[in-house]
Symmetry: C2
Subunit: 214 residues, 2 copies
């Protein structure tokens, strides 16, 4: 059985959990407690040269990193249900939506960056939260404008979840945790709600994880 | 002919220029001067909802954003030479390398983030440069460790350039501009040197762009 090294609150981990659940693929959940720094311990770094979760270990021991790369691998090796459309232009749109989250929002707001702001730059709690909300707002407004250029669909790109939904949902969880104003994002939130109505997304969410802490 | 809205110093633009050159695809270079804020002007935002370069406009007027999504689109629609291997596991490794740059390094070091550090958080020039070098070091060391897990190859993943090389090369240009210490990255720099020996990478570099400023 595949092993997923991950952490309930890591949104990159959450993306991969969603893909595994949508594909119906069983996996062993191996918790790595980021807030306690377990990802920096020698035992984990020996497995994961980047020292990051998620890390997916296949049956033969091969290990894969980077959440979008893992999800595309799962999609290429377990085709049903597909997480990318078949037509190149439609695939590009789905990937671009995913990359707004993965390249424009999340990297600025993950735990190690927030710690750097506080420890190295002496940012106050308020300045840190303002930073967080600034990048969430910029990124999700761009996401919303991209959705608004297409006819309405149930999910981000069509009538079934795609890679874009796997990325969006954890980002909305984070945005809500930091009390970001999401009122200008109707299409984005409609897609989020459609996702959260599905058992796969419910099973993948932080509160359903074995290492969950309230 | 395709149009590429871009900027000589934007490393995300540089990635796409490399892919276009490797594929031998002609394109019209449309400069968008980021340092003068042209990407925030109404005329450009009407084309690019994210207000970001690169933006690729196809012959039929369709516009694509996000550099990795654009490169994968070009690869799927113009197969030769391929920028991704054909085997899923090898593809996952190439994408993961690309994503170390695109998700772990570059988002923390682009112009708007550095401006935020200075203007909103009052970071000194020195603190800003320390931030820059910190994320470059963390990311490229992870990149190097990933390369070191595989047998040596001429480029990042094999004997021809891939998506990973398209992402790596602009990042090394940036790292050198900020005088980052790259001495612990032999495999990474060997791949960089192999790339820069090719005319496609030479033609795509900032100093070869029509809007280049020394």
């Amino acid at each position: 059985m595949m092993k997923l090294y991950n952490y309930f609150r890591s949104s990159a981990s959450f993306r991969v959990r969603i893909a595994l659940e949508l594909k119906g693929l069983p996996y062993q959940y191996v918790p790595v407690h980021l807030a306690r720094g377990e990802h920096r311990e020698a035992e984990f770094v020996a497995l994961a040269p980047e020292g990051l979760v998620p890390l997916l270990e296949l049956d033969d021991g091969t290990r894969l990193s980077q959440s979008m790369a893992i999800i595309e691998f799962l999609d290429e090796t377990h085709r049903s249900p597909p997480l990318l459309p078949s037509e190149p232009l439609a695939r590009a749109r789905v990937r671009a939506l995913a990359q707004i989250v993965a390249c424009e929002i999340h990297p600025l707001n993950n735990l190690r960056v927030l710690q750097y702001l506080k420890r190295e730059l002496g940012a106050s709690e308020e300045a840190k939260n303002t930073w967080y909300r600034h990048w969430v707002r910029l990124g999700l407004e761009a996401f919303e404008r991209q959705l608004a250029q297409q006819p309405p669909t149930r999910f981000c790109a069509g009538e079934a979840p795609t890679l874009a939904d796997c990325l969006l949902v954890p980002q909305i969880f984070n945005a809500r945790r930091f009390e970001c104003d999401l009122s200008s994002l109707p299409r984005t939130l409609a897609a989020f709600d459609a996702c959260m109505a599905l058992p796969a997304f419910q099973r993948a969410q932080p509160s359903a994880c074995p290492d969950f802490e309230p």
